[in-house]
């Protein structure tokens, strides 16, 4: 999310799925698109039928590779080196879309003299503090003149211009270096680089598609940054058939980030207040988080409208609109650090809803063991699963576990109404098709009930600390008496509140431009504003696909129903389409407005010739030719001077667990990655002879997890855990196809059935032959028809510094023929002494 966010301004995919059909070339990397998103893949096939070249780069030859025009193998976890190699190729051979880069990026900015690149420091950037494992990012700042304006060199010739810095930074990513690092044969790499370059520019566009194959690494955010830099240099952002398609794994994962289930965000990407920053009052918070220029100058409007939605009449100018009621962060409270704290006894209760961390979690045994320390545990799910049944797992003694377990039955998606926000940022409403089975309730029912019950319990309290509970507005009772009688809240009312309304007369606002920062409007999530523009309209219900292919009357895409983000960049600086073939949004001189097949992502009547006012606040700071309206300076960030903790430019680091030494730099892995060095989270050492094979994980199309494992029609298609192994390795290890193998890491063992296939193949990396083993992530060993050990048993927790995303796509392991030992045999004592423990709330960054 911050990979795209810091580059372009928003964390969402820059394009929408059906637009892929307009691409002349599609690079799929870090994703098994055809298997994980078969329905969306229809548009890749359409592009192919129209003559586009489909490229797939992956450690395994998958069902996506099978229909791709070009497949290239890659060592798992080396995508920065691969894409960095293409960046070097397009810069060295002058294949960039130069007019686009000059006009719409920070290529011309001058980087300050204090900046030192990984090229000089062999894998580190300037400002590194070894003790705190952090960077002083002030050394990455741009050079400014006396008036504070960033210095630029439009000719891009200045040795410290971003363009020249980029060139030097990526100069060592040569095709030979790519082959040495990634194991991708040089000819194949060059063929891909040439194909991308050939299919970008004025007349043609290339789209990128990635998924968790790029994110789940200790340098995951930087993987996305590399793609963002490359796509910007090729001029593919904001244009039809271009962009970066971030494929989200679940039907509502985008929605769960927008109206977040994340600990550090409020709805609409407003930061959660933190005690570690100067944010103790609303004023201080707004001062810290409001950008002087660009769209985020509107932060106060969105924050105050959000507080009005939370606290209603109790949010007044006098009490900072209830700002003090919000909790403040005191550390990293994301799921994995909290799991460690739970294991150490610092957490009393735990809710798990629609997730199965006891099987699919990283270090799944840590999760289950941690749950033994809880006082109570609540699971809301439709199925019995490995998490709720942790107390009866192999080797556990229920008599010794004191945790009180509540298992509440959840309605499935067909049994409840609501919206889902998918990978194209599209809100789509679905009705309830059938009544929930038995006593199942929707998730909304549970939370409505909890909140009402809690409010009741505190109703008589006069203690000021209970005000957040008493003052929270809660009026979602269903209008349908039948539903109300059952206690089901109206999720439409929730959506209407997210849309926002005028406080005085409770009329809906038409969109976020109508919101005000004076308490006269309330809005529960500004980016969705416009979805319910009046009391009768719910645009998420729209199902009209006729007319232009952009189908603006099908669902509602945030923001403001825009399909392709930054689409101002589909026109040249003067407002004309770059080419007739790639026409999308352009300036209509006669009407004096932006027009096209999509909703323009730009102030509608701001002419291309509008000059920038370099002393203005807000949007006036941008000229009529600055397409990235969310960014402070209106252009795409090739170089990111602030906002990311680990690098202004991506550099290839080896994963924490790697089979080779970093061929590119002396610095082995991301210096800022976070590890938990304790005995219940054992890591394989880097380049460990005991664990000589690369292990990668993924899901298969037939299985997602607990939901599919219970469906016999799906279970028969992929009935048990398996490991994909190349024939050479199988022969050398005496492994027979279809029989059991045991895969081991320092953390534990799992067994799976061997699937020996030429689709897996050894690679030559830095002169060494590397075998990769693929293990699907879908299984759990306790319940359902489709069963098997979870690969989560083998993955110790280590995370990226920006978003705490775990590294589960690249690990090391060993393998042998035969079945594993029983789990309780040979399991070392994992009791953690106090000095190894994590304290709750400890600021870990």
């Amino acid at each position: 999310m911050p990979g795209l966010g810091t580059s372009f301004g928003r964390g969402g995919a820059t394009v929408w799925v059906p637009d892929l059909q307009n691409a002349d070339c599609i690079l799929i990397e870090g994703s098994n698109f055809a298997e994980a998103h078969p329905v969306a893949f229809r548009f890749v096939m359409k592009a192919k039928e129209r003559g586009a070249t489909i490229i797939h780069v992956d450690p395994r030859f998958t069902r996506t590779s099978a229909v791709a025009d070009i497949y290239a193998p890659i060592r798992s976890g080396t995508d920065i080196a691969f894409l960095g190699g293409i960046i070097n190729y397009v810069l060295a051979n002058d294949k960039i879309f130069r007019e686009y880069v000059e006009a719409y990026t920070n290529a011309s900015y001058i980087v300050g003299e204090a900046y030192k690149d990984t090229d000089e420091l062999d894998g580190l950037f300037s400002g590194y503090n070894e003790e705190t494992r952090s960077y002083d990012v002030s050394t990455w700042a741009f050079e400014r003149d006396e008036q504070g304006v960033i210095k630029k060199d439009p000719t891009l010739a200045h040795p410290r211009s971003v363009y020249q810095v980029l060139k030097r930074h990526f100069a060592r990513y040569t095709p030979e270096m790519v082959e040495r690092t990634c194991g991708t044969p040089k000819e194949q790499f060059l063929k891909i680089a040439e194909t991308l370059a050939k299919n970008s520019g004025r007349e043609r566009t290339t789209a990128f598609a990635y998924a968790v194959g790029w994110t789940q690494h200790t340098a995951g955010v930087q993987f996305i940054r590399t793609a963002a830099i490359l796509q910007t240099l090729l001029g593919n952002i904001g244009r039809p058939g271009g962009g970066i398609m971030a494929l989200r794994g679940h039907a509502n994962i985008q929605g769960a980030t927008d109206i977040p289930t994340l600990y550090d965000l409020l709805p609409g990407y407003l930061p959660m207040p933190s005690a570690l920053r100067d944010e103790q009052t609303l004023d201080a918070y707004l001062k810290t988080n409001t950008k002087a220029t660009g769209w985020w100058a509107n932060t106060p409007t969105y924050m105050i409208s959000l507080l009005k939605a939370f606290y209603g009449e109790h949010a007044t100018a006098e009490n900072d609109y209830g700002y003090e009621y919000l909790p403040q962060l005191i550390g990293d409270h994301s799921m994995l650090p909290t799991t460690f704290a739970m294991k150490d006894g610092a957490v009393k209760g735990y809710f798990v809803i629609g997730q199965n961390p006891g099987a699919s979690g990283q270090n799944a045994e840590l999760v289950r063991a941690a749950m033994e320390r809880l006082e109570w545990f609540v699971n809301i799910d439709s199925y019995d699963n490995e998490t709720v049944s942790f107390w009866r797992r192999e080797g556990a003694d229920p008599a010794k576990i004191g945790t009180e377990v509540f298992f509440l039955p959840a309605a499935t998606v067909l049994e409840k109404e609501g919206t889902m926000v998918q990978t194209s940022r599209l809100l789509q409403w679905h009705d309830k098709a059938v009544e929930p089975a038995g006593s199942s309730k929707s998730d909304a029912w549970y939370f409505n009930w909890f909140m009402k019950r809690i409010k009741e319990l505190y109703a008589d309290s006069t203690d000021p600390k209970d005000r957040p509970i008493l003052h929270t507005t809660w009026d979602y009772d269903h209008d349908d008496p039948h539903e109300r009688a059952k206690g089901e809240p109206s999720v439409l009312k929730v959506l209407q509140e997210i849309n926002g309304f005028n406080v005085a007369d409770r009329t809906q606002v038409g969109g976020f431009t109508e919101l005000k920062g004076d308490g006269s409007t309330a809005c529960g999530g500004w980016i969705y504003s416009g979805v319910c523009p009046d009391a009768r309209t719910n645009r998420a219900r729209n199902r009209n696909a006729s007319g232009e292919y952009t189908a603006l009357d099908w669902g509602f895409a945030w923001p403001a129903n825009r399909r392709t983000l930054y689409n101002r960049a589909s026109a040249d600086p003067s407002g004309k389409p770059w080419s007739e073939r790639k026409k999308y949004v352009w300036w209509d001189e006669a009407k004096g407005e932006w027009t096209g097949v999509d909703v323009p992502d730009f102030p509608k009547t701001k002419a291309p010739s509008t000059p920038a006012d370099k002393h203005a606040k807000g949007m006036a700071f941008h000229s009529g030719a600055d397409p990235f309206i969310m960014n402070v300076d209106g252009v795409a960030q090739l170089f990111v001077p602030a906002g990311l903790q680990d690098a202004p430019l991506p550099a290839h680091y080896e994963p924490l667990q790697s089979v080779v030494e970093n061929p590119i730099y002396a610095q082995q892995s991301n210096p800022l990655m976070r590890e938990w060095i304790r005995r219940d989270n054992a890591y394989n050492k880097p380049v460990d002879a005991e664990y000589p094979y690369v292990m990668t994980t993924y899901r298969v199309t037939e299985m997602s997890g607990i939901m599919t494992r219970y469906v016999p029609w799906l279970a028969e298609l992929q009935p048990s855990a398996f490991a994909e192994i190349d024939p050479e390795l199988a022969v050398s290890k005496g492994i027979k196809n279809g029989e059991y193998v045991t895969i081991s890491t320092a953390l534990g063992e799992m067994e799976a059935r061997a699937l020996v296939s030429g689709r897996m193949r050894p690679l030559r990396v830095n002169g060494k032959k590397i075998h990769q083993i693929g293990i699907p992530y879908n299984y759990g060993s306790m319940v359902a028809f489709a069963r098997g050990d979870s690969v989560g048993e083998l993955i110790p927790i280590a995370v990226d510094p920006n978003v705490s995303i775990h590294e589960s796509k690249t690990l090391t392991c060993n393998i042998r023929a035969g079945r594993r030992r029983a789990h309780h045999e040979g399991r070392v004592d994992r009791e953690v002494p106090p000095d190894e423990r994590t304290r709750m709330g400890e600021p870990t960054f």
Partner: protein, 282 residues
């Protein structure tokens, strides 16, 4: 109007949505949970209760530099609904009929489970539906429609012991729906429609692919030989039919009848002659 399937294997991504959609619509049970180790194919073949089956054919070069030439072929197999159907000819009870959509349809209430059709199918499609075993893991269903909740088994399971195969979604077609598999296919690898139109589309598709340098052939769009005629479910292939487990030279069993009778007659005459020779000397 005769309808059918055109399965374009070059568009198949092996997602098996057709298998699942077919089982769901027709309330077919799973065939068991066996890991085969045969690529991604764990259902192995068409059966009395698996009416769509996706074949996975791995053609991987052993040369580590040969990545660009690797192929993983996928093809969704189904009953061919032959012009001259072996199963229909062999059926002694008249249970197998040709319906108004030109499809070969087994009437479960007429079928007596003799199994003649099973051996008469040139493609090995038809099979007997196993008898319902309420304890058996083979008969797990994800859902049952309300009308059948009491008996706890589906129509197909109630007719256990009789022959089963693709109906070309007779029930769906009667109300104007597209068959479940074609409806579910995300990449339009399975296309359903009027046969003449499908054949024209298939031939145009072969031309397009040929222009792009892909060696594509149609299987069953025209007479497939062996007396079977054309197939109402035909395929576009990029390798020999045997690669996809389709017979290169399928033969309708009844075409062998004249030769069989002739051989029998010749043998009879021969035996008679031999007998006459032997007894004449005696």
């Amino acid at each position: 109007m005769a309808t059918g399937f055109f399965t374009d294997t070059t568009l198949c991504i092996g997602c098996k949505a057709c298998e699942v959609a077919c089982k769901q619509w027709n309330e077919l049970p799973s065939d068991g949970f066996e890991f085969t180790g045969n690529s991604y194919d764990n259902t192995s073949e068409l059966s009395g209760t698996t009416w769509r089956h996706v074949a996975f054919v791995e053609q991987m070069s052993v040369d580590p530099e040969g990545g660009l030439h690797d192929r993983w072929l996928m093809s969704s197999d189904v009953c061919k609904h032959c012009t001259n159907a072996g199963c229909l000819e062999a059926c002694p009870t008249g249970a197998i009929i040709r319906n108004e959509f030109g499809a070969v349809f087994i009437q479960p209430d007429v079928c007596n489970g003799c199994g003649y059709c099973v051996v008469s199918c040139p493609f090995g499609v038809v099979d007997l539906i196993e008898k319902f075993d309420p304890e058996g893991t083979h008969y797990n269903l994800a859902s049952l429609s309300e009308s059948r909740l009491d008996s706890k088994q589906t129509a197909v399971q109630q007719s256990g012991g009789v022959a089963g195969k693709c109906t070309l979604c007779y029930d769906r077609q009667k109300v104007g729906f597209v068959p479940a598999c074609a409806k579910a296919c995300p990449t339009e690898s399975i296309q359903f429609g009027d046969l003449d139109e499908l054949r024209a589309r298939a031939k145009a598709r072969v031309e397009t692919l040929t222009e792009r340098g892909v060696e594509a052939t149609l299987y069953g769009a025209d007479d497939v030989g062996g007396g079977i005629g054309s197939l109402n479910a035909f395929f576009l292939l990029t390798d020999r039919p045997e690669t996809y487990n389709l017979p290169a030279q399928p033969v309708l069993p009844s075409t062998r009848q004249p030769a069989g009778y002739t051989a029998a007659a010749v043998a009879a005459v021969g035996l008679a002659l031999a007998g006459w020779m032997i007894f004449r000397n005696a």
